[in-house]
Symmetry: D2
């Protein structure tokens, strides 16, 4: 019963002069609930989030939404359209190599300055004035910079401009070949169990250019700046990256399940009626970012991936079998490569042939069980 307004946002121009646009769907909240920004497909090959946004739109239009909602599928028209062979080369700018999800803006001088200048400001004022400050800074530094910024930074700035208005930011990704997992900032640990996602990475407040960080870092550091002045405030914004399976893959039915997982979080947060959606019962595992280890190919060759995604692998159990058919006359023509530690296999490389040093698997090590 919510109305969905469609519009198009210009985010760049291509060499032939054409403006490239991103579709933007907005819903006006009925009742002052938290505002939400949901984005998908900043990496061109990670299309499943678009199907999740489709399913969310199907739900929202039948629901009473209390807060403003902005949904942005196909967030990266350059990445979506950059084909190389049969696949989408949408992870990095083909000109510069810059990861499209590392171009967001964060000015780390602002939180401390603001807290010092406004030690006793009322919470609601803090939220609105600090938000205005970081939006203004984004516009000056990235959207209206006199020497310009890179294609990726400009795209990110246009998206971030919308995201900074929201209290809740969800960035929908996928891995290469991947099980579902969630990037959750440590301060929002309690929210991890509200999604139907069994594997959760807890991330510190370092800024490395991604959207979730660009949205929560200002507020997290603001909270800490007030903390240092002896005042305790909440972190006003929650931001998560959801990894919803594998790239180059679309499934509307799975997307429906993921939309319900998101609605269970939004329902808990009062964006839609609380209790309307509730998280599924499942064992959830957590891992600190420092223990999220990449296992790189110790040698090159052809790869059969053996460790099941989402599966717990004991130290010494097989990760991959490698075939080096150029060495049939050597004992290492077939070699099984084993897990160096107990771990959960979260994702693996998309191709069956690898160079030495290719990322084979990403693994939760020192993982732990989350209590609901």
């Amino acid at each position: 019963m919510s109305q969905i307004i469609a519009s198009q946002l210009n985010v760049t121009q291509m060499a032939n002069g054409q403006a490239m646009t991103v579709p933007v769907y907005t819903i006006k909240g009925s009742n002052n609930g938290p505002s939400v920004y949901i984005q998908a497909n900043i990496h061109g090959a990670e299309v499943q989030g678009n199907a999740v946004i489709y399913q969310l739109l199907e739900q929202f239009k039948q629901l009473d939404c209390y807060g403003d909602i902005t949904l942005v599928p196909l967030a990266n028209p350059i990445g979506s359209n950059q084909k190389s062979g049969e696949f989408t080369l949408g992870r990095f700018d083909p000109i510069t190599g810059a990861n499209w999800n590392r171009g967001y803006h964060f000015n780390d001088a602002l939180p401390a300055q603001f807290a010092q200048a406004n030690p006793d400001m009322a919470i609601s004022e803090i939220v609105s004035q600090f938000r205005a400050l970081i939006i203004d800074d984004l516009e000056q530094q990235k959207i209206d910079a006199p020497y310009g910024v890179t294609t990726g930074q400009f795209l990110c700035a246009k998206l971030q401009r919308m995201a900074l208005e929201a209290d809740i930011v969800l960035d929908l990704h996928t891995g290469p070949i991947s099980s579902r997992h969630l990037y959750c900032p440590e301060y929002a640990k309690d929210s991890a169990v509200l999604f139907d996602i069994p594997h959760v990475l807890f991330i510190p407040q370092d800024f490395d250019g991604a959207l979730d960080e660009a949205c929560f870092c200002p507020w997290w550091q603001l909270q800490q700046a007030y903390q240092q002045q002896g005042r305790s405030i909440e972190v006003a914004v929650a931001a998560f990256t959801l990894e919803l399976g594998s790239q180059e893959w679309l499934c509307l039915e799975e997307a429906k399940r993921d939309s319900e997982s998101i609605l269970s979080y939004l329902s808990h947060r009062g964006v839609v009626k609380p209790g309307l959606f509730t998280p599924k019962k499942m064992t959830r595992y957590g891992c600190d970012l420092k223990d999220y280890r990449t296992f790189y190919a110790p040698k090159s060759g052809l790869v059969e991936y053996l460790a099941p995604l989402g599966g717990q692998v004991k130290q010494g159990e097989p990760l991959v079998r490698m075939l080096r058919i150029d060495r049939y006359d050597h004992p290492d023509v077939i070699e099984v490569i084993k897990a160096p530690d107990d771990c959960i296999a979260i994702l693996h490389f998309a191709s069956a042939s690898v160079n030495q040093g290719t990322e084979l698997y990403k693994l939760f090590t020192n993982y732990f069980t989350l209590s609901a």
Copy 2:
């Protein structure tokens, strides 16, 4: 009980000066059986044939091989190593766009010339002298050409130089996302049921640059040239392209099954003891090349592939569901695209996002059942 000799063949030099090599495994036949050439991975992403060659080597070393056998995995070191993003850009030369499997050589003037010059030559003489002629022509035109040839033509010539020595040539490929299928020249129709491959394409004698064509066209046209002179001879060489599943995928267990499928053909042909391996019982479907239709995306968007590979699809049944999330406010946000004719879906595109005009599916139409 056969001895396998390993060697390396130089096929090109890269810009930094390094020679690129291809592994070559040879077995000396014990008893004058037909000679065999088996190659895999001329397209860089199609790695599964290497695993099939591994399983064949495992078998051959325990068998008595009557004919000479040459096995060439990893046939294209440039293609294997050309990565673009996480995938292998191994279908065409990244410099010229030339398909690596279209650089083989065929001089269509030779068969008629030879038949005219040698109308009454004994069959065994025909085979050895015509073989010498086409090998000599290959060397002059491609390996020792004064102006040189393209990187791909030189690679193909070095491989073809070996293949031309053989009575049986098998070129192991895969599709993008694909079911098993076989390219079989029309003159060798009876052999189609000797492989464990349920879908067979029958191809005419046109030369389009592929290895199988380059190996059988000279002999097929020679047979026809004698035919026109009123003399009936057999086509001396059989050559097939086997498509063994999907690219970017390796499975040693499936490879074992495919090695047995190949052995059932070789056993029938007397390369190993006849009867040692026999084809599996299965319904096999045939299709003429002219009825092998590509269905191109009538519009762009995100794709959920619905038609099952190897499955029979009736006219009007769904091929794909397309999501155009940029058009949520239009009725065509979701559209199911249907088969224009009764068909068998053989393979589909590897990515879930397509431009208008991208090859969505390849389909057998007007297909028929083969009798064993």
Copy 3:
């Protein structure tokens, strides 16, 4: 004094749903002169033709144009926008490897059929009816094909649809690093001296998919079909490919000169006032297509190009110096590679590092002087 009408033509949709368009500028002829179609940039990196179209537009708007003129710059929005590193990967479809300038349509059954069906038709009727026939065939086979066509074929069909309406077709290209040269069909030999282009390739009527061929082959074969019926008619359409220097390079001043070169041809043909522009005096050299030889790198390495573009090179004079710095301890660390025959160096490869088999130079051999 001519009015220029601007419009946009949809030629494809990209994966994210966006329609890609090509700008089309048209001028309505004042006086029944020959109609003209001029296109540029079908290969994405070959941008200079756009500047030539700019300069032509600047001229046309001040002239009285007797015939209809259509100008299509930026003809390939996919190719223009396909960047890979700092350069434009615009020569072939990044998905299939298909050369963008090989997707045009020619149905070689039509000319003979038409001539047989209409042996005594009046010339003006032949031109209008045969034109209608080939346009209709193009639409059925390529624009409205039930299984669709490739992205490149659809793009080409949409462009060719416009080109088929014209009596004169000019396709503006560049080489990689290149001197100016002209592809001229043999039947239009006399026109070669009307452009200010010193090097001319004479091409036979084989169809290989390029625009010029797709425009002149139907008419050339029609003329020959009538010839075989004993009737002599003119080839009604002239089509040329102009190679105007190097790719990835733009110069408005040089473009002005090339626009005047084109105007001298158009003026001669009566598209604008005859005599208004006249060809420059220069020595022009011709070469038959079969004598246009590519010299491939006999080995890999780093290359210093020595033969000057447009310059006459004697047999045994240097083409390139190759540095193999991996072999400093060998005599071939530096090697000069020499011309195998007397020739004119027309173009060379764009990079200073090459694989074995890379196209180093393209050379006119057995060249001759054209008389004006």
Copy 4:
């Protein structure tokens, strides 16, 4: 009169199993002079440094070299061989997008630890023990890491392992289309005038992953750590990045000049006889890294580069002319884009067609004259 020893270093394995190697040339010093490491071509398209190494080898073999010298051309076999279209895609890993010159190692905890542990150690002991420490750390962290490292980090580690042995490190690069310029660490400001390079960037001690930084940062921070303990020592290692013109370009004659420029520095440092080579007289300009500004394309289109490389451009003078031929009917079809400040144009983008946000020019602003 020095002997040059050639060897090959394995730096990675490609998917097909082939080891990729880097040529290494070493000269044993005769007289305890400073040791030198010179590398070229870590970015695959930047080939000119290989020619400079060739010319240095030609010189060194006729000279008495006092210190050990290691020369490593073709330092990146993956980058050199990664073609995409006619150009070399050698700036970043095609799989990950990681810049090949950002994978070097620096452990910023070591300098302070070492200085604290060894406050009074003799200088010669400091140099040998700290060198052993950082080499040992590199081996543990990158060469022998239990989970492995990326392809690029492993390559860099193998190169850095050699570079860390040297007192002088020169990393030879080029820009895209570029004038000569030098990256010089601020502490080595006096050396800037010893090269024949007119434009010098002074860089602070931040570590961003490049080879020069990875070589000087440990020693610079060690010097500062001792400083904080009240002890003054020299920075023991000098490291520079030399940008020697444009990529995809080779010229042995220009390389000879650059080899003499390098020899003038090495001669001053006592690697060869002091005074044997002396810097040319020229006006040299300096710029602090913070004032080295990139000017990004404010809109997309076709570009004619107007500001001359190495030339001084006044505020408001033209940088580029942009053609937007899709907008012939608009006033902005041609637009001149002007320098926002007084500057020297150091390099520009390699292609004539750009997206919005493409790096058009890199500019020295607030530049100053260096005194010799």
